[in-house]
């Protein structure tokens, strides 16, 4: 089934790239979504069945794949809207490349979730870099070029780091006399691995995946990429692509967690997490570009996820839940941002304001999305963030908790002051005649995503809870 899916995806990509007809284009995207959802269901029904040696849909992979299926639908619809509105610059060729890259990115992410072998994950991470760079460079101007150049260069280095990590891992396997590098075999044989090589390997793989996940040290490329990519692509980069980084780190951490090195790995992750939240705070309190602010908000959330993971206990459960809810919430901000840009034609906070006057439905959505993204009570993220704090309490990391709470308060202040400026304060200069009328239906998908995030957090379906519980079991 996996090979069939890959073959279909490649076929759809090639057809999208060469096709010039609008109707055929949309039909192909529809077919892709149907194939993707069908594939998701098939993999759910074949939970924990190893396929083609290198793929195994485990609980965590299935959870992330399900969220990806949910997010892919609105993102592709809004991708279509984006191309329609920017009609002047678009040619059938650029449109084809845009959608082919998007389809490839979504499929590469889903393959990376399901892979059972670290080298296979690595290959699909390479593929995500390739397709993401085509998306970032969509507008072909000098700013986009700069964004894509930085992204490609830093991702190339990060991929090299992951590869070095894999080599060190293979050195420790070689010493233990094991030749099977699948995650299952790594978990089972983790006690036999040489601690020195395992340490080096964890360091390199962790550093490598931070470029995708968006943590200190390699978060920078992602910020420029999310800023420069078209908003629907930014929605993908800040949700499903970050999950690829998460699953990579989660799996290698699970190997280390079976050994006495666990405390050492925890401290590495706590340092990276605290620095990430700190960086996010510094930038979010003084940032003037709305889209970059959303990107930094993702860095903050991933820092929290890492804290939950390192605290252990209920924290692991909370971390996975947080990742899932973040994947549902973050695209709403980027998709809504698209409409903000249609109104003001500017990303700067100085040029926007009084959004309620120009797009009422969108403005209410923006307010709700702000509440969701800062994890205030009605939002779904509140539940997972609360559990993360609880796990930090149980792990007796009170100082870390206090620092994080202080930083989060500052983030809410910075985020809030910019969002309220956008919503309520009148803009300094505004040509009202040029403002397009925006249909309330443009915001519909984002309401659905936010509602889903709330529903999933407060009343999780039984199947999801079971999957979450199974995913947590990987970490002892």
């Amino acid at each position: 089934m996996i090979l069939l899916f890959l073959a279909l995806v490649l076929l759809i990509c090639v057809l999208l790239y060469f096709n010039k007809n609008t109707v055929v284009n949309y039909a192909l995207l529809g077919i892709f979504l149907a194939v993707l959802i069908g594939f998701g269901l098939y993999e759910y029904l074949h939970l924990n069945v190893v396929q083609y040696t290198y793929f195994k849909p485990d609980a965590l992979g299935i959870l992330l794949l399900m969220v990806l299926c949910v997010v892919a639908v609105p993102v592709i619809i809004h991708g279509g809207r984006y191309i329609e509105v920017h009609n002047v610059d678009e040619t059938p060729r650029s449109r084809g490349l845009f959608f082919a890259a998007m389809v490839l990115l979504i499929s590469a992410c889903s393959m990376a979730y399901l892979s059972n072998h670290i080298a296979v994950t690595w290959i699909f991470v390479e593929l995500t870099t390739l397709s993401a760079s085509a998306l970032i460079y969509h507008h072909r101007n000098i700013r986009a070029l700069e964004g894509v150049w930085k992204y490609v260069f830093i991702c190339a280095i990060s991929i090299t780091f992951i590869y070095i990590g894999i080599l060190f891992l293979s050195l420790s396997l070689k010493q233990a006399g094991i030749s099977d590098m699948s995650f299952q075999s790594l978990y089972e044989n983790s006690s036999k691995l040489n601690p020195f090589w395992l340490k080096l390997s964890f360091l390199f793989i962790f550093t490598g995946f931070t470029a995708k996940l968006g943590l200190v040290p390699m978060y920078t490329a992602g910020i420029d990429a999310k800023d420069k990519a078209p908003a629907p692509a930014g929605a993908l980069l800040s949700s499903v692509l970050m999950n690829v980084g998460f699953i990579g780190i989660f799996r290698i951490y699970a190997v280390v967690a079976h050994t006495p090195l666990r405390h050492w790995a925890d401290s590495i992750m706590i340092i990276a997490a605290l620095l990430s939240i700190f960086v996010a705070t510094v930038y979010m309190t003084r940032i003037k570009n709305i889209k970059r602010m959303f990107a930094y908000s993702g860095i903050e959330h991933m820092g929290l996820v890492m804290l939950g993971l390192s605290a252990g206990g209920i924290g692991v459960y909370a971390a996975i839940l947080h990742v899932i809810l973040h994947t549902l919430v973050k695209p709403t901000l980027f998709l809504q941002y698209n409409q903000v840009y249609w109104v003001y034609q500017s990303k700067s906070i100085y040029d926007v304001g009084n959004y309620f006057k120009y797009n009422k439905t969108g403005a209410i959505l923006m307010l709700l999305a702000f509440i969701s993204a800062t994890a205030m009570p009605p939002s779904g993220l509140f539940v997972s963030e609360f559990l993360i704090f609880q796990s930090l309490f149980q792990a007796h990391s009170i100082v870390i908790l206090l620092v994080v709470l202080l930083l989060l308060t500052m983030i809410i202040w910075g985020f809030g002051s910019n969002i309220f400026k956008l919503l309520f304060t009148p803009p300094s200069t505004m040509d009202e005649s040029a403002v397009p009328r925006i249909s309330p239906w443009e915001s519909f998908s984002q309401y659905v995503l936010l509602a889903l995030a709330v529903y999933v957090a407060y009343n999780p379906p039984m199947e999801m809870v079971n999957l979450l519980k199974e995913a947590v079991k990987i970490i002892p």
Partner: protein
């Protein structure tokens, strides 16, 4: 014999740290490519001849011929000045690269693993860190690319150390090489030349907060 080749590679790192011209950088890349070709032939004695042929072809064609030639072509086409423009004086670079090599030698002393040849480990890591150092301290984008290629050479040496047991990893390394060469060089560096008439890093520093 392998040791001689690897030590020559480490010495080329010292030379690149004080090189002034881009053409010298390229000659060193070619030189390293040939050294890797020799090392591959001498090290990978237990893998299938077809795979060995593939790996050796990759080292000689990609690392030693195509990529340096293409970089040379880019330098000429984009009229990049031939000075490397380091931020630090050459003398300091020489000291730092020497320190990198010494540090990796000391670090390798702490490994108690009889399965690995420590020369590979030392040369690989010092090549890796020298590449990173070059990226940080050189101004031009093209020297960043050269720094990245040097990192790749280091990684390739490391992969040779496990190559006999896990040839799949060496093949993956080749994939990484081709991926980077095609993506970084082929597509984007070409574009940078088209959009910017003067490709150095200073022109690509507008995205910030």
């Amino acid at each position: 014999m392998t040791d001689i080749l690897l030590i020559a590679l480490a010495m080329s790192l010292l030379y690149i740290s004080i090189a002034n011209r881009l053409s010298t950088y390229l000659s060193i890349l070619v030189f390293q490519g040939f050294l890797l070709f020799g090392t591959t032939y001498l090290t990978l004695t237990h893998i299938s001849p077809l795979n060995l042929l593939l790996i050796m072809l990759e080292t000689i064609v990609f690392k030693a011929l195509v990529v340096p030639w293409f970089l040379n072509h880019l330098i000429k086409r984009n009229h990049i000045t031939r000075i490397a423009e380091p931020y630090l004086p050459n003398f300091v670079s020489l000291i730092i690269v020497t320190l990198i090599i010494v540090a990796t030698i000391i670090m390798s002393g702490s490994i108690d693993d009889k399965n690995i040849d420590k020369t590979f480990f030392v040369v690989a890591l010092s090549t890796l860190f020298t590449g990173l150092y070059l990226i940080v301290t050189r101004k031009k984008i093209i020297t960043h690319v050269i720094g990245y290629l040097i990192i790749e050479n280091g990684v390739f040496i490391l992969s040779l150390a496990v190559g006999n047991e896990m040839p799949m990893l060496v093949n993956l390394g080749i994939m990484l090489d081709i991926f980077a060469s095609v993506l970084i060089l082929g597509v984007f560096f070409n574009k940078i030349g088209d959009v910017l008439k003067d490709p150095d890093v200073n022109r690509l520093s507008n995205l910030k907060d």
